[in-house]
């Protein structure tokens, strides 16, 4: 179980022959992910043969889906080509599209997100994200596989390494996970906290959710409003309490502008919704244990 992906998910890697794509394809296969095809325009008919595997490469996502019954895709292609690659995957019927690529212009992402949401049924995760893992079943993206442990907690985060830090702390603290998703640090992303909370609500395996937010935007506030209806306990954590306003803190979306998107506003929204907010990462496992 878990959400969005599981052991039956068949994955296409767009940009499988690139440095990142090639490396992480091997890590995904090691984890047990069914990587069934690669897509590289112009290299159709060739095979990806690294680390003792052989995966067919196709010119288009559509042909890869037709030949392999793939239902998910991960996008590693450079930012100039990534917007089109995402829309191609959505058009070809991929149900889940994970975009690792960073640095995509925001106006491009506006087009992509609105295309994917209005014309297709695909769930877009990212861009500029570490991906998604349904523990012991399927890993799509670049998260380190060894830190996860099967269990009842779902996790949603805007961050990369901070997500790993939290997962690692949960695992060491004896709290296992169902599905963990990094939704990405850009101002315009496909899937938001709220979308994924609804997915977790419907998942029998998930008994509680950890939500890792950061400064910028108001997705956390929007999610907080929904939590009382969720019927499952949530623990929240916000990074960037010390971040100065007007400065972009690494992620394109992590910026307090015009007094909006502060850590205080997000923490307040969670507290108002009755959601405990951990002060440190270490506080998350005990808070969860209380609620489970």
């Amino acid at each position: 179980m878990g959400i969005l992906i599981n052991k039956n998910t068949k994955v296409i890697v767009q940009g499988i022959t690139g440095h990142e794509g090639s490396f992480h394809t091997q890590r995904m296969i090691e984890y047990g992910t069914q990587v069934v095809a690669g897509v590289v325009p112009g290299k159709g008919g060739q095979s990806f043969t690294e680390g003792g595997v052989s995966i067919p490469i196709f010119n288009t996502v559509e042909s890869a889906v037709r030949e392999t019954d793939a239902n998910a895709s991960v996008v590693f292609v450079p930012r100039q080509f990534a917007p089109d690659a995402i829309m191609e995957a959505a058009d070809a019927g991929c149900e889940v599209i994970v975009t690792i690529t960073e640095g995509i212009p925001v106006n491009d992402m506006l087009r992509v997100v609105n295309y994917v949401n209005s014309r297709t049924m695909a769930v877009l995760i990212g861009p500029n994200c570490p991906g998604i893992v349904t523990v012991d079943e399927c890993k799509i993206g670049i998260m380190p596989g060894h830190i996860f442990k099967k269990g009842p907690v779902g996790l949603i985060s805007r961050s990369g390494t901070l997500t790993y830090e939290v997962v690692d702390t949960l695992t060491r603290g004896g709290v296992g996970q169902s599905t963990c998703i990094g939704i990405g640090g850009d101002p315009v992303i496909g899937t938001t906290f709220l979308d994924l909370l609804m997915e977790f609500q419907a998942d029998d395996e998930t008994e509680a959710v950890v939500l890792i937010g950061e400064i910028g935007g108001s997705d956390e506030e929007e999610a907080a409003e929904y939590i009382p209806e969720l019927g499952k306990p949530v623990v929240a954590f916000i990074s960037g309490r010390t971040a100065p306003p007007g400065k972009r803190m690494g992620h394109a979306g992590a910026i307090i502008s015009g007094g909006k998107g502060t850590a205080e506003s997000k923490i307040k929204a969670f507290e108002k919704a009755g959601v405990p907010v951990a002060n440190t990462v270490q506080e998350i496992p005990p808070l969860l244990k209380e609620l489970l």
Partner: protein, 384 residues
């Protein structure tokens, strides 16, 4: 990336958005000669990358050449919100009948573009939104479809605008959207959009912010970047070194340097330092790879601020090998221009090997972010 009013106006005029002639002066002599060319009166406007120039005295009308001399001299020696004014725009002064606001920006919550119009122009739009929101109309634009005529009509006709000018304003709005998309803007603003006593409709001011992620395909705009203009010295230098570095503002700047791999992790490390009673000096994200070269360049950069008395490094390994990072750090430490206590928190592959390597060296190992923060604060002393 912010660009100056005069640069934005140049771009606007390429899209047939009417502007008034103007030129930039870097000193009083140039200001006088431009004023002589245009004929009096002229308006003198500070060119800096902050809002609120008018309130700060950075915009003046000059009716005589003596005025031009006095005002341009004053403005060119002025600092506005901490930024020194290095140039002024000299433009022909005109008589204004009405001032409106027209702007386009990203609506992050709606995941659409938003067109904003107001009949209360010439003042800060956020102020108008707070005091008289009824004077503002908005329309969301889906970039998949582009802007549609009915949307613009809704935007403009709902306001109390002279009917004979509506066509001109609609045309400018269409052009502004065209420009917004073509230059990869995240903000395009005309404030005020003025109706002159002569009946002309012109963009009296222009503001454009370009999406940094799009500069790779906007080479001409990239050339307009003025490193250092809205950055402090160390931030400007970091940009040249391709380091994701933010210097804390002066009033909140402590003596603990902070670096790590990943933006969220580094932000959290700063939060932990503060919780432990210290004050971070900076934010520095070394990115996913954490190569010895990047780590060394980052350490050197943080140490350029003499205030820094200790550094906390936070590396979540995952697939990075901790022993290699530790070896690289030890070598880098030898070469550092000045030695301060360094605490390193690492988890990941070969964590134990890394811990052994660091034992008995000046580099102090920590196994969690919290522990690392406590150790560095202990070494540097409490600050809050």
């Amino acid at each position: 990336m912010k660009i100056h009013e005069y640069q934005a106006k140049e771009l606007f005029s390429q899209f047939d958005i009417p502007i008034l002639p103007g030129r930039v002066a870097f000193n009083v002599e140039e200001a006088l000669s431009i004023a002589g060319e245009f004929g009096l009166p002229v308006v003198i406007k500070a060119q800096v990358h902050v809002g609120g120039r008018g309130k700060a005295g950075g915009i003046k009308v000059a009716k005589t050449f003596q005025d031009v001399e006095v005002h341009s001299k004053n403005i060119l020696s002025m600092e506005i919100k901490g930024l020194p004014v290095k140039k002024v725009l000299i433009a022909k002064a005109v008589d204004i009948r009405e001032e409106y606001y027209l702007g386009l920006t990203l609506d992050r919550d709606a995941r659409l573009i938003v067109f904003i119009f107001s009949t209360a122009g010439g003042i800060d739009i956020e102020e108008v939104a707070a005091t008289s929101p009824e004077k503002i109309t908005r329309v969301n634009i889906d970039p998949l479809f582009g802007v549609m005529d009915f949307q613009l009509k809704k935007l403009i006709y709902d306001s109390r605008v002279d009917n004979d000018k509506i066509k001109d304003i609609l045309k400018i709005a269409r052009k502004l959207y065209e420009c917004y998309i073509a230059v990869d803007a995240s903000l395009a603003e005309i404030n005020p959009l003025a109706i002159l006593t002569s009946g002309e409709v012109v963009a009296l001011d222009a503001k454009l912010i370009i999406d940094d992620n799009a500069l790779y395909r906007q080479p001409k705009l990239e050339q307009l970047r003025e490193i250092g203009d809205d950055l402090d010295e160390l931030e400007a230098e970091a940009q040249k070194l391709h380091l994701a570095y933010v210097h804390m503002p002066k009033d909140k700047r402590g003596s603990i340097g902070v670096m790590g791999n990943g933006a969220g992790l580094v932000m959290n490390t700063m939060d932990e330092v503060t919780r432990a009673g210290g004050m971070p000096n900076n934010f520095l994200d070394i990115g996913g790879t954490a190569t010895p070269e990047v780590v060394e360049a980052s350490l050197n950069h943080i140490l350029k601020d003499e205030v820094v008395q200790g550094i906390l490094i936070n590396v979540f390994g995952g697939i990075v090998r901790c022993d290699i990072v530790a070896e690289g750090l030890l070598k880098a430490y030898e070469r550092l221009p000045r030695k301060v206590p360094i605490v390193i928190r690492m988890t990941g592959t070969n964590e134990d090997l890394a811990r052994e390597l660091l034992e008995g060296t000046p580099l102090i190992y920590a196994s969690s972010t919290e522990e690392g923060a406590c150790k560095i604060v202990e070494l540097v002393g409490r600050q809050n």
